[in-house]
Amino acid sequence: MSARNSDRKRELLGLYNEPDDAADAVSRLRGAGFGGNDIEIISATPYPEGAFGEQHAKHRLFAFPFAGAACGLAVAIAWHIGAQIALPIVTGGKPIVAVPAIIQVLYEGTMLGAVLFTVLGVLFESRLPDGIGVYDDRIADGLIGVSVIARERRIPDAQIALEEAGAVDVLSKDGSLMRPAAASP
């Protein structure tokens, strides 16, 4: 194997019947020297955070609504006050820009900005849209996947760790079944 090929990364997916087995696989992968960012647990159902011994997912989702609210308010002010100044209705000496009469629209603009940015934040923090990666439809039926990204030369270590935890199957990036590590030459 050339040095370039051995440095290339590949994703493996182990499928498990029980959450305990999946948690065991995560421990074994860590024990084999794989970092937290390389390991991913995939399930069709949310499990309590930490159920598989995975790392706490850091995110900045709470910042998005504030940024969105500020942008929404700015756009609402620019649009509405700008329109009133550009098209000055005869007001009999009263101010052209009537804040009390447009405060509702400024409010709606602020909230709309907050919601839209939150949605963008959800997609960004969920790393979506994304290619599906290695996946198996049986996960939808309740199997739990443990995915690991490993350099080519470390693939056998990852496969052994996944199998020793009791994997139903181990799949490679192209979705094909891996031959059991013990049977590999």
Binding site: S43, A44, T45, I102, L112, L116, P129, A140, D141
Partner: protein, 458 residues
């Protein structure tokens, strides 16, 4: 004690997606019937554009009729969805799980239907765009951008956009589930694109949980603002019976009353039509009925406040309007029917546990509530306009025309058809949410009792 949903995941997947992947005969018959009624509405709409508002039963000085009543009614129904979904999510009420999606979808379609009524009401739909976006630089005349004609669309557009986004984000896991289960390659491709590659990583689930709470918290103030602004369409005028200071909260709580009732009606229909008996249980209906007792009573309080403030000021026009509403036919009959169907019969029956856990009785009582609440809106809108004011020299009574009834039927059909088509294409129950509830549910022993223990995280 609430009954846990006890079906295995395979059964849950199959039953929750059954309607999406099957084509029952009644679906074609129902959509055909609904399509016919919607077509009738479109024909009336075309006639309206040709002949104008003379098709409606308007008589000077009453130019706000069924379209405005229905606008308020459907905006009201739309409020329940988000109210139920957002508040229950924020409170992390376990029984919310099968309820939320249907409530949110009802919001979307009733809101979309409500948006059509101001266009119909204008009688000249092509001018509506100009009123809403009055940025004509060439003619030197323009509508007032400070008017409720701008507030209303701003609020409704914000609410509709937020609700659609809210539903879409919550749908991602279920779209991924549909992608994994569907056999048809076109369906697989469509669900694949819509699910954006969602695989259910721990990070994605974590963000989903936070997004549900965050978006709920953002949408709740919008939901309050929308019906407040709808109430100000009336309250900023000087028509007697309309400019009461309690109008905003009165409208909001009335909206919640009719909307939550509509959610119960829809859930009972879903239970039988979509075969969801394992997921919509007596507990869900019971819990919603308890909520409704409180909401209905608060609504009655605001109705009494509106009445009291109308009389307390001893303003002749206000007193006269209330006298017309309550003492003069046909309004007396309408007032009696609306109080009996909107409060006395339903709340009186909901006090009994046996009724709250009876699907048929709950269906009937929640339909009654919406009949009552529609009549309430009718009673708010028309009598104040019918009153002869100082400069009205010619006046007549408003009598709704057949065209208006046709429009109402078509809009009701539109909401039902929208809901049905959504349920056909996408899971109407949040499968991942329901399955999460099963995972988190366990039993603990307290003394000699075994009670469900639910772990929550935020």
């Amino acid at each position: 004690m609430q009954e846990p949903v006890t079906v295995d995941r395979e059964t849950a997947n199959r039953e929750l997606l059954d309607f999406v992947f099957s084509w029952p005969k009644w679906f074609f018959a129902t959509t055909g019937l609904l399509g016919g009624v919607i077509t009738l509405g479109l024909i009336i709409f075309l006639l309206l554009m040709i002949f104008g508002l003379q098709l409606f039963g308007y008589a000077h000085p009453v130019y706000w009729g069924f379209p405005v009543v229905n606008f308020v009614f459907w905006i009201g129904v739309s409020h329940a969805g988000i109210m139920v979904s957002a508040i229950l999510r924020l409170a992390q009420a376990e029984w919310r799980r099968p309820v939320t999606r249907a409530a949110e979808v009802l919001t979307i379609f009733s809101l979309m239907t409500a948006m059509t009524f101001p266009i119909i009401h204008s009688g000249r739909p092509w001018r509506t765009l100009y009123w809403e976006f009055p940025y004509d630089w060439m003619r030197g005349i323009w509508p007032n951008p400070r008017s409720p004609l701008v507030w209303d669309p701003a609020a409704i557009f914000t609410y509709l956009t937020s609700t659609v986004m809210f539903v879409y984000i919550a749908l991602l896991p279920d779209l991924a589930l549909a992608r994994d289960r569907v056999k048809n390659p076109i369906g697989k491709a469509v669900y694949g694109v819509l699910s954006l590659g969602f695989r259910g990583t721990t990070r994605q689930w974590r963000i989903q949980a936070i997004a549900g709470i965050l978006l709920s918290a953002l949408i709740l103030p919008i939901f309050v603002s929308v019906h407040s602004i709808v109430s100000w369409d009336f309250a900023v005028t000087i028509i007697p019976g309309w400019h009461n200071t309690v109008f905003a909260p009165y409208f909001v709580i009335g909206a919640v009353h009719s909307g939550v009732s509509a959610v119960v009606t829809v859930m009972i229909v879903m239970r039988y039509a979509f075969g969801l008996k394992n997921f919509i249980t007596k507990d869900h209906i019971d819990s919603l009925a308890r909520l409704l007792i409180i909401v209905a009573t608060v609504w009655l309080f605001f109705f009494m406040l509106d009445f009291m403030f109308g009389l307390y000021g001893t303003e002749p026009a206000e007193v006269d309007t209330w006298q017309r509403r309550l003492m003069e036919p046909p309004w007396t009959a309408i007032a009696i029917i609306f109080i009996i169907t909107g409060y006395i019969i339903p709340v009186g029956l909901w006090l009994f546990r046996r009724v709250r856990r009876n699907f048929f009785l709950m269906f009937v009582t929640t339909v009654l509530v919406n009949i009552g609440m529609w009549l309430e809106r009718y009673m708010i809108v028309i009598p104040g306009l019918e009153r002869k004011s100082n400069l009205t020299f010619q006046y007549g009574d408003y009598l709704p025309s057949a065209a208006e009834f046709g429009i109402i039927a078509a809009q009701l059909a539109l909401v039902i058809a929208g809901f049905l088509v959504f349920s056909k294409l996408l899971p109407i129950m949040p499968a991942a949410d329901i399955k999460e509830g099963q995972i988190l549910r366990d039993e603990i022993k307290v003394g000699r009792a075994r009670v469900p223990a639910t772990m929550r995280e935020a």
